[in-house]
Symmetry: C2
Subunit: 210 residues, 2 copies
Amino acid sequence: MAMATAESERPARVSGIDKIERRRIALAESALKTLGELGYARTSLREIANNSEFTHGVVHYYFRDKIDLISYCVRYYKTKCARRYDEVVETAGSGDELVTGFLAKMIQTLVEETPMHKLWYDLRAQSMFEEQLRPDVEAIDQLLEEMIWRILSRYADLTGTAPTVDAPTAYALVDGLFEQAVVGYAANPDKTPDLLTDRLLQVLPKLVAA
Amino acid sequence: MAMATAESERPARVSGIDKIERRRIALAESALKTLGELGYARTSLREIANNSEFTHGVVHYYFRDKIDLISYCVRYYKTKCARRYDEVVETAGSGDELVTGFLAKMIQTLVEETPMHKLWYDLRAQSMFEEQLRPDVEAIDQLLEEMIWRILSRYADLTGTAPTVDAPTAYALVDGLFEQAVVGYAANPDKTPDLLTDRLLQVLPKLVAA
DNA sequence: GACTTTGTTTGACACTTGTCAAGAAATCTC
DNA sequence: GAGATTTCTTGACAAGTGTCAAACAAAGTC
């Protein structure tokens, strides 16, 4: 019973670490589901535990505190989302094909993973008030910026042009449109995907030039 | 004791409704101050009351419940922010002058009213989870969109061009850049204003064409 | 087998939250 | 002035929070 307040002490067992990591992932996945539905502010550790196969005590066995859990969730989440368009970027043979594939994937994730995107914008807002979230949020933002930049660069390549904005600008623009769509999706799930497509089609060509 | 003497501050007689409205505004202003600092999630009614000259019971005398207060705050806030650039739009005599004035005002509000902007992005995120906030948030979004559109239209006029994107698109783009700046301002208050200026200068000309 | 380590449940703690109500104080009405 | 009305304070409430720790179960080790 010496480890009740688990500091930086680690159970020195390799297979154990693996098992621990597995549990943490399971907890994180469950937490992400709840977080995506309720948002950061309204999600409690008990609620997370309730929507999982574990009890609320287990959460504290695997995570130091709430921020530690959320932090882990955010980091886990980021590994799943920033490579979403890689295949499209690599396989597209023309500018049009790239744009089409990119838009299709973006609409797909907007529709199928709405809760995750809502959570992301929520967490980014929370990071303005909760310093502990900032590093993780910044890291994801960086990843997303690079993701957009890969797409824009490739698009320029395929169309024999060059980007006319830098990476942070391109990301902010596309992200602005996407966030607008995520927010609007709640009120208008039917129209929103087409609107987003339309708007991106307006904008993308303006971000490159010969 | 203090009764007979100085009453310089107290308005002698105000009609009941007016007085109530005055109190609500005072409460709202106090609440906005606290909300801007702590964010929606971490702001309690008691905290609001503590940072004001009232006690926590008064809040419930003037507002039905918490959402009623926040709602009122949001509506009060919106009346103060969406006309921020009107003077610039009306007085600018050339495209350059308009852009310069617009950028100056935007940087100014970014720096001087950071908490309000943080709160706004927080509240917009919360509205995705809390339905009662949605109507107010939508109304503000609409106002901001119109504000941006007035600027872009005028800019087009002054430069003998026409906008090449529609109003929602223009708003999403500018808002994406501004939100990026608000989030970044916490980590990097020195560089951020210049970066935002630079990025807007990159983008604005692309939103009009002859 | 018995013993130790690891994992889990359960229940408690101290605290904060929104809400409300009873009464005090100030204000208004006559 | 006295009485009625509005405004405010205070204290309480039930519910929910993060956190922790002691009892319990399981698994691993000798």
